[in-house]
Symmetry: C2
Subunit: 331 residues, 2 copies
């Protein structure tokens, strides 16, 4: 794990530095508070996976220019904006180990700086003369919002299905990561074949990424995660490990277990640490953790397969590593 | 006043009906809650000034097609999105005589349905093959957010200047109305000259519109206004009538009056009806109301002058009437 992470970080070191610089340069903060808020959330240990994917996907298609760094910021700004609005929607308290924006400032700031970042993405995209990029942004913003709305209206819904879950994570996460990859291909004037492959890579990577993220809520320690343990469950956000385990428990007719799980889910933010321990055990017993991991692994495989059309290269192996890393990360 | 309003309404009746239809048709609500929330705020007596301006500006440039109605929805959706986020930022309670979105649903809904409406505008714009429209949308979203942020950080700032005020209302209101008018010209493939004239018309109309709106907070009755009386003052939002009067009071060295006004401003939501009465009298005494009205009238004149290049026509006289109506409306 550490080896893989080091190999990736070593290879992308310069790209990451350039992306950091572009994120600062393109923010265009006309008042100080924007820099403060952006520093708080955006420069607090985000992994820059999305802009990095744009840069790497451009590179694997033979791109050698400079515009990729600027364009790549679009996907980090969009991601950050969605985190800010998302934390507000979820009434979260911690993000990356720090208090969320609305806790440090207020709801108003979280709403407006999020709006500002979204507006920036459109302006940055316009400086680049490709209609396709605007189409990608439109698709992502509409899709992410739909995903967030679906998630909101399904909070606490004990009858959520795997299909509902997949539709939600596709919209809220996969379409953005897919867009970041597709844009890389577009910047490089890649062949249709290449663009299609990277679009597919991004889509499956995005699904894997979200599933892995949802697993972390039940497998990680707070100190690693940088947010409240069991946050999803506290918010009534039922993810695949829960959906699958509930369904299996119902199928097994062990009504006591079903009741135990449902009762804890209904408690929202009120369950005890012991109850959370019981709940996690249920997820193991009924296979929700393993099932989700298997599905995520399957998505990683699909992502890697999509890269088959590219010859072996250092760029390709880093994209493969990134896919593998999805399932290994602890934060 | 009633005559003017009736003349306008009579002339634009069909356009308004078509705009209403387009607003429903283009919403694309993939879940029911979007329709409910949109119905609550968007179909509750909004005057459709912005889409109407797009349609009328297209018409005065000789446009006879159908796409104007669809495109015009962009400006109502943007406006609605900004109202939803704005009410959240201001912690407002009433809008158009009804409880605001977050009071009926919650903060999350207000954030996300607002985001959804903004995302819709981009998708609608993309269906229309003009880069210029995307540029207008980018400019508006960036500008509106900047205006809202300026307004937020200046809340309760007793040293706000007229220049600060003008910069804020330009960004938060005028650029959107300007964009609605410019888009009308663009749809009609107007001459550069015509587009410039309508852009100018929209800009001045937008400024007049916001100034008139800010006046209403101190000159209207709740029953007319549909929101809490003195809402701006309660939120610490210092508008031109206040800025000007404070400045004049300071210049007159009547320190007691300055103190009275500043004390009431600092009370935010805690001032009594009597205190609000005192405050309104101060605005009259120091000329803030008259000064703002004069400046608004000046903007209306400029808006109407911008139409000079157009020959006399019914379309032109309605655009003139609309400018006059800005200062006469009571809600």
């Amino acid at each position: 794990m550490t080896d893989l992470k080091n190999r990736i970080l070593n290879f992308v070191k310069d790209d990451l530095e350039n992306i950091e610089k572009a994120l600062t340069d393109n923010l265009n903060p006309f008042v100080d508070i924007i820099t403060s808020v952006a520093n708080h959330i955006m420069f607090s240990g985000g992994k820059r996976i999305r802009p990095l994917l744009t840069v790497l996907c451009a590179k694997i298609c033979g791109y050698h220019g400079e515009i990729d760094k600027t364009i790549s910021t679009i996907f980090e700004y969009m991601h950050t904006a969605s985190l800010m609005h998302d934390d507000l929607v979820d009434e979260a308290t911690l993000r990356r180990g720090k208090p969320v924006t609305q806790a440090v400032w207020n709801n108003a700031t979280a709403v407006l700086i999020g709006d500002f970042l979204l507006a920036r993405t459109l302006s940055i995209a316009l400086a680049y003369e490709k209609r396709e990029l605007i189409e990608i942004i439109a698709q992502i913003t509409e899709s992410m919002t739909q995903g967030e709305i679906l998630q909101l209206i399904n909070k606490g819904n004990l009858n959520l299905t795997e299909k509902d879950y997949m539709a939600t994570i596709e919209k809220k996460t996969a379409i953005l990561i897919q867009g970041a990859c597709k844009t890389g291909a577009m910047i490089a004037d890649a062949t249709e074949h290449q663009e299609k492959a990277l679009t597919e890579y991004g889509y499956h990577l995005g699904l894997a990424f979200q599933m892995a993220d949802d697993l972390l809520d039940y497998t990680s320690e707070t100190s690693d995660l940088g947010k409240k343990i069991g946050a999803d469950l506290r918010e009534g956000k039922l993810t695949l490990p829960v959906i699958y385990s509930l369904q299996k428990a119902r199928g097994s007719k062990k009504n006591n277990d079903v009741k135990t799980m449902e009762d804890i889910i209904r408690k929202r933010d009120e369950f005890s640490d012991d109850e959370f321990g019981v709940f996690k055990n249920m997820l193991k017993t009924y296979g929700g953790i393993d099932y989700t991991r298997t599905l995520a692994e399957d998505q990683v495989k699909k992502a890697k397969c999509a890269l088959d059309i590219f010859d072996a290269s250092e760029d390709k192996s880093i994209l493969m590593d990134l896919a593998d890393y999805t399932l290994l990360r602890k934060t």
